[in-house]
C-alpha cells in the first residue's frame, strides 16, 4: 500500500513539476506586470556575441548591468514564469503568516494598511535634496518670492513605530531639511517658512494599499497651507465627491503580493476646480484635471493630471486676486494642488524629476509668487530631482 502511495505520489509530483516546466517553455509571454507596474523581460537574443558578453558586477559580485544571454535569460524565466502573481502571493503568505516575518520586500501590513518600511534614513540623499532646494532658492527666489517648505509625512509616520516597525527618525529628517534650506535675516529669522503638516493628517488620510494620500481627506492640509501662505481655500462643504468606478489597487498591493481588497478612489469637484484651465506652459497642450482614461490603467492615481508632468499650469478665472503660486512637488502634489486653486490666479507645478532645476524659466518668478516646496518623506529619502 505504502509503495503504491509513493508511486502515485512521485508520479503526481513529476507531472506537476514538468507541467510547470512545459508552461514555462511554451506558454504565452506577458509584456507587462500590472501588479508590479513594470515591463516584463522578454526572451533575449541568442548569439555568440550575447553568450560571450560580460555582465557588469559590483564589488559584492551582484550584477548591476545584464549584458550576457545567460543573465538575461535568467531574468526572463523569472518574469515569464506561469502564474507568477499567484506564486508571489504564495511566497508572501508563507513569509508573513507561517514564518511570521514582519515585512516582505520592505512592505509591511498593519491592520488594513500596507506601508513601506522607510528605514534607514539616507542622510546623504536628504542633504543632497535640501541643497537642491537651497540652490533653487538662491538662484531664482531670493528676494523675489515668498518661500515655503512643507514635508508630507508618509503613512509610516502614523503607523510604523506605533505598531513596532522600523522607521527613519522623522524629526531628524525634518530638522535636516529645515537646517539645509534657509535664508536667515539680520534678526536671525529664517525667511523661508516651514509648515508642519503632521497634525493635519493621520493614517486614515492615506490609501490602504498605496503610497499616496486620499484627495478627499486632505482639505485640512490645503487649509493649513493656505493659512500659512496668507490665502484661502474652499471649505470641504464646497466640494462634491465623484467615485471612480474602477477599483483601485495601490502600488503596495503588487509589491506585497498579498490578498488585499481593492479600494475606492474619490475625486473632488467644485465650481472653482471645474472652471480651471490646465495646460503645459511650454507646449500649450491641454492637461485634464482628472484624466478618466487612466481609470483603465494599472495606476488610478495617474488620473490626477494624467500622471507625472514636468510642468503644469493651472489658471483660475474665478480667483479673487492676482496671486501666483509655484509648487515644486512630487506626485503627492498632484492631488493636493487643485485644492489650493481658489486663492491663486495661476499655479505652476514643477516636477524636478522631469525637468532640470538649472534651467527653469525666470518668468515663473516675475510677479513675486508664493513658492512652495512640497515633498514627501519618501521622496526626500530618495531623489527629488534628476
Amino acid at each position: 500500500m505504502k509503495n503504491k502511495i509513493y508511486a502515485v505520489g512521485i508520479t503526481a509530483f513529476v507531472l506537476i513539476w514538468f507541467a510547470l516546466a512545459g508552461f514555462s517553455w511554451f506558454g504565452p509571454k506577458q509584456d507587462v506586470s500590472l501588479s508590479e507596474r513594470r515591463k516584463l523581460e522578454q526572451a533575449p537574443e541568442l548569439s555568440i556575441q550575447t553568450i560571450l558578453a560580460k555582465d557588469v558586477k559590483d564589488d559584492d559580485g551582484n550584477i548591476v548591468e545584464r549584458n550576457s544571454f545567460m543573465s538575461k535569460f535568467e531574468l526572463f524565466t523569472l518574469d515569464q514564469f506561469p502564474l507568477r502573481d499567484q506564486f508571489r502571493q504564495v511566497k508572501s503568505i508563507f513569509q508573513f503568516y507561517v514564518m511570521q516575518q514582519k515585512d516582505n520586500n520592505d512592505i509591511y501590513i498593519t491592520g488594513d494598511y500596507a506601508a513601506e518600511l522607510l528605514y534607514p534614513m539616507d542622510t546623504l540623499q536628504v542633504e543632497v535634496n535640501s541643497s537642491v532646494m537651497q540652490k533653487i532658492y538662491d538662484k531664482y527666489l531670493k528676494g523675489r518670492a515668498n518661500t515655503y517648505v512643507a514635508i508630507v509625512p508618509d503613512k509610516g509616520y502614523y503607523l510604523a513605530q506605533q505598531n513596532g516597525y522600523l522607521s527613519l527618525d522623522y524629526r531628524e529628517l525634518f530638522d535636516k531639511i529645515e537646517d539645509g534650506v534657509k535664508d536667515v535675516d539680520q534678526e536671525g529669522k529664517n525667511k523661508i517658512q516651514y509648515i508642519d503638516l503632521t497634525d493635519s493628517l493621520d493614517a486614515g488620510s492615506y490609501y490602504y494599499t498605496d503610497t499616496h494620500w486620499r484627495q478627499e481627506k486632505i482639505v485640512p492640509v490645503a487649509q493649513k497651507l493656505a493659512e500659512a501662505m496668507g490665502t484661502t481655500v474652499q471649505p470641504e462643504s464646497a466640494y462634491t465627491k465623484e467615485l471612480v468606478e474602477n477599483p483601485f489597487y495601490g502600488v503596495y498591493y503588487g509589491f506585497a503580493a498579498l490578498p488585499m481588497d481593492p479600494e475606492q478612489m474619490y475625486l473632488m469637484h467644485s465650481d472653482v476646480l471645474d472652471g480651471c484651465i490646465i495646460k503645459n506652459p511650454e507646449t500649450g497642450a491641454a492637461i485634464p484635471l482628472y484624466d478618466m482614461a487612466k481609470a483603465e490603467s494599472n495606476d488610478l492615481y495617474d488620473i490626477f493630471f494624467s500622471g507625472n508632468q514636468p510642468l503644469i499650469q493651472i489658471e483660475n478665472p474665478k480667483a479673487t486676486g492676482n496671486k501666483e503660486l509655484v509648487v515644486f512637488s512630487d506626485s503627492f502634489g498632484r492631488s493636493l494642488v487643485p485644492l489650493l486653486t481658489q486663492g491663486y490666479r495661476k499655479i505652476t507645478v514643477v516636477d524636478l524629476r522631469l525637468t532640470s532645476y538649472l534651467n527653469l524659466d525666470h518668468k515663473l518668478f516675475l510677479r513675486r509668487p508664493d513658492v512652495l516646496f512640497l515633498y514627501s518623506t519618501i521622496s526626500l529619502n530618495g531623489a527629488i530631482a534628476r
Binding site: I10, A12, F18, S24, M70, E74, Q101, K102, P120
Partner: protein, 489 residues
C-alpha cells in the same frame, strides 16, 4: 546557474531528465531492434546516459563562464591522459612521474586561479613593491573538481581503481553537474562501478527527488531568508545601529545559514545523483550535535575530511608517528583545509584554529570527561566563533566582530533595531535550530516504520513535496536573492 533557480529547476533539470531516460531508452531499443543482445543494449544505454550527462554538465558549467568550458575539457583530458599513462607505465618510477605530473598540474591550476592575487597582495604588503594584481577570475568549482581529478590519479597509482580508458566516461565523472560546483567531493573510487554500469528504479528516483527537494527547501526557505537577516545586520552596523545581541544573532544566523546552505546543496547533489543512478557519499551528519571538535569534523563536509585524511594526513604518517610529527601533520592538514576554503588570512586562521582545538582535545583528555551538555556547548561555541572569522571579509572585520560580540565595541546590549529583527526572524531561527538537529528526521523515520502511521506518513510526504515545490517556486519567482557561500570554492 545555481540549483536553486528557475532556469535550473524548470528548464535545465527537466530537460536533462527527459533526455537522459528517453534517449537511453531509444538507443537501447534501437540496438536490440537491430539484433543486438540485451547486454549490448544495456551498454549502449549506459554510453548514451553518460554522454547526455557530460554534454549537459558542460552546458551547465559553461553557463557561468563559457570560456572556462575549455579549461574543464582540458583538465578532463589531462587527467584522463595521466591515468592512462600511469596504467601503461612499466616501471614504478614512470608511474610516480605521471602521478607527480597530475599533482603539479592540479595544484598549479588551483594556485594560479585561486591564490595568485592573494600571494601578490601579500608580497606587496611585505615588500612594499608595486606589482599589478592579475585579477584572475576563478573558474567555478575548481576547488572541487581538481580534488576529484587528483583522487582519480592517486587511486590509479595506488591500484585502488582501474584506469578509465573511455575519456567520455571519465569526463562524465569529472564534470557531473550535480556535484561539480559544490560537492560532495566525489572520489572516482566511489562511483567507478556506477560510471560503467548502473541501475535505476522508481524507488531510487523517488528517494532522489525527495532528497533534492529537502535540499531545495533548506536553501530557499531557510538559508536565503537568514541571509536577509545577515544583510540587515551589516546594514545596521554600517549606520551604527548594531548591538551586542545583534552580533550574537548574526553569529548564530551565519552558523545556521552556512550549514543549511552547504548541506542543502549537498542534499540536492545527492538527490540528483540518485535520480541518475549514482550513490554519492554523505557530506553532513548533523554536525551541530557534536560534542567535540574532532566529532564536528567527522560530521561536517565529510567528503573534504575524507579527502584530506586519505591523500594528505595518512601519507604524512597520520597519528602513527611521534607526537611532534603528529602535531606537524595536524597543522599541515588544517592549514591546507583553511586555504582550500579561500585565499584570505581569515580562512587560514580558521583552519589553524581547528588545528589548535584538535590538539588541545588530544592533549587534555580531561575534556572528554566533562558533562555532555558542556562539551556540546563548548563545541558549538567554538564552531560559531570560527564561522564569524570565516565570514569576515578581512582580519580587521573578524577582530571587530568578535570584539563586539564580547562587549568591547562600545555598543548597547540591545536596541530597537535588534528587537525588530529578532521579532521578524525569531520563528525562522527557531525552525532552523530544530532543523539542524536529527529530531525531525528521526521522528519521520520512526513514524514511517510504524505499521499504524506508515500509510498516513507516505501520503503526507507526497503532499509535503508538492507543497514544498510550490512554496519554493514562489520564493524563486519573487526574487533573485540567492547567494551560495561555497560558490567561491
Amino acid at each position: 546557474m545555481v540549483f536553486s533557480s528557475i532556469p535550473f529547476l524548470y528548464y535545465f533539470l527537466p530537460a536533462v531528465i527527459i533526455s537522459y531516460f528517453l534517449m537511453s531508452w531509444l538507443v537501447s531499443g534501437a540496438v536490440r531492434l537491430f539484433g543486438g543482445s540485451e547486454r549490448t543494449g544495456h551498454k549502449a544505454s549506459i554510453f548514451t546516459k553518460n554522454l547526455i550527462l557530460l554534454l549537459f554538465s558542460l552546458l551547465f558549467y559553461g553557463w557561468g563562464e563559457p570560456v572556462y568550458v575549455f579549461l574543464m575539457i582540458g583538465t578532463i583530458l589531462m587527467f584522463w591522459g595521466c591515468g592512462i599513462a600511469i596504467g601503461a607505465s612499466k616501471t614504478q618510477g614512470m608511474r610516480l612521474f605521471w602521478l607527480i605530473v597530475s599533482i603539479v598540474v592540479s595544484l598549479g591550476l588551483l594556485a594560479y586561479f585561486k591564490y595568485t592575487n592573494f600571494f601578490i597582495d601579500n608580497f606587496i604588503k611585505i615588500t612594499g613593491m608595486s606589482i599589478p594584481l592579475l585579477n584572475v577570475i576563478m573558474p567555478i568549482g575548481i576547488s572541487f573538481y581538481t580534488f576529484q581529478c587528483l583522487s582519480y590519479t592517486i587511486d590509479v597509482y595506488r591500484g585502488n581503481v582501474k584506469v578509465q580508458k573511455n575519456p567520455m566516461y571519465f569526463g562524465t565523472y569529472v564534470a557531473l553537474f550535480p556535484q561539480l560546483i559544490a560537492g560532495p567531493i566525489v572520489r572516482y573510487i566511489d562511483v567507478e562501478r556506477e560510471i560503467n554500469d548502473r541501475q535505476h528504479s522508481m524507488e531510487m528516483f523517488r528517494l532522489g527527488v525527495r532528497r533534492f527537494m529537502v535540499g531545495l527547501g533548506k536553501k530557499i526557505l531557510i538559508t536565503n531568508n537568514i541571509a536577509l537577516l545577515i544583510n540587515a545586520f551589516r546594514d545596521a552596523v554600517g549606520i551604527s545601529q548594531g548591538s551586542v545581541l545583534f552580533y550574537w544573532m548574526y553569529a548564530l544566523s551565519f552558523t545556521l545559514s552556512i550549514y543549511f546552505d552547504f548541506s542543502g546543496y549537498s542534499d540536492m547533489a545527492i538527490g540528483m545523483g540518485k535520480m541518475f543512478g549514482f550513490n554519492f557519499i554523505e557530506n553532513f551528519d548533523h554536525p551541530y550535535m557534536s560534542k567535540s571538535i574532532a566529532e564536528f569534523w567527522r560530521r561536517w563536509h565529510m567528503s573534504l575530511g575524507f579527502w584530506f585524511r586519505d591523500y594528505v594526513y595518512i601519507p604524512l604518517g597520520g597519528n602513527r608517528v611521534s607526537k611532534s610529527r603528529w602535531v606537524f601533520n595536524t597543522l599541515v592538514v588544517w592549514l591546507l583545509t583553511g586555504m582550500w576554503h579561500g585565499a584570505n588570512w581569515t580562512f587560514i586562521l580558521w583552519g589553524l584554529l581547528y588545528a589548535v582545538c584538535l590538539l588541545i582535545e588530544k592533549f587534555v583528555p580531561a575534556i572528554k570527561k566533562l558533562p555532555a551538555a558542556l562539551r556540546h556547548f563548548y563545541t558549538f561555541f567554538l564552531v560559531m566563533l570560527g564561522f564569524v572569522l570565516f565570514n569576515a571579509k578581512d582580519m580587521g572585520q573578524a577582530g571587530s566582530d568578535i570584539a563586539c560580540m564580547f562587549g568591547f565595541g562600545n555598543l548597547p546590549f540591545v536596541n530597537d533595531v535588534t528587537l525588530y529583527y529578532l521579532r521578524s526572524f525569531g520563528v525562522l531561527l527557531i525552525v532552523a535550530i530544530i532543523g539542524a538537529t536529527p529530531l525531525l528526521k528521526n521522528t519521520a523515520n520512526r513514524l514511517a516504520e510504524s505499521p499504524r502511521w506508515a500509510t498516513p506518513v507516505a501520503i503526507l510526504e507526497c503532499l509535503f513535496l508538492v507543497v514544498l515545490l510550490l512554496i519554493c517556486t514562489g520564493f524563486l519567482v519573487d526574487g533573485s536573492f540567492s547567494p551560495f557561500y561555497y560558490n567561491n570554492f
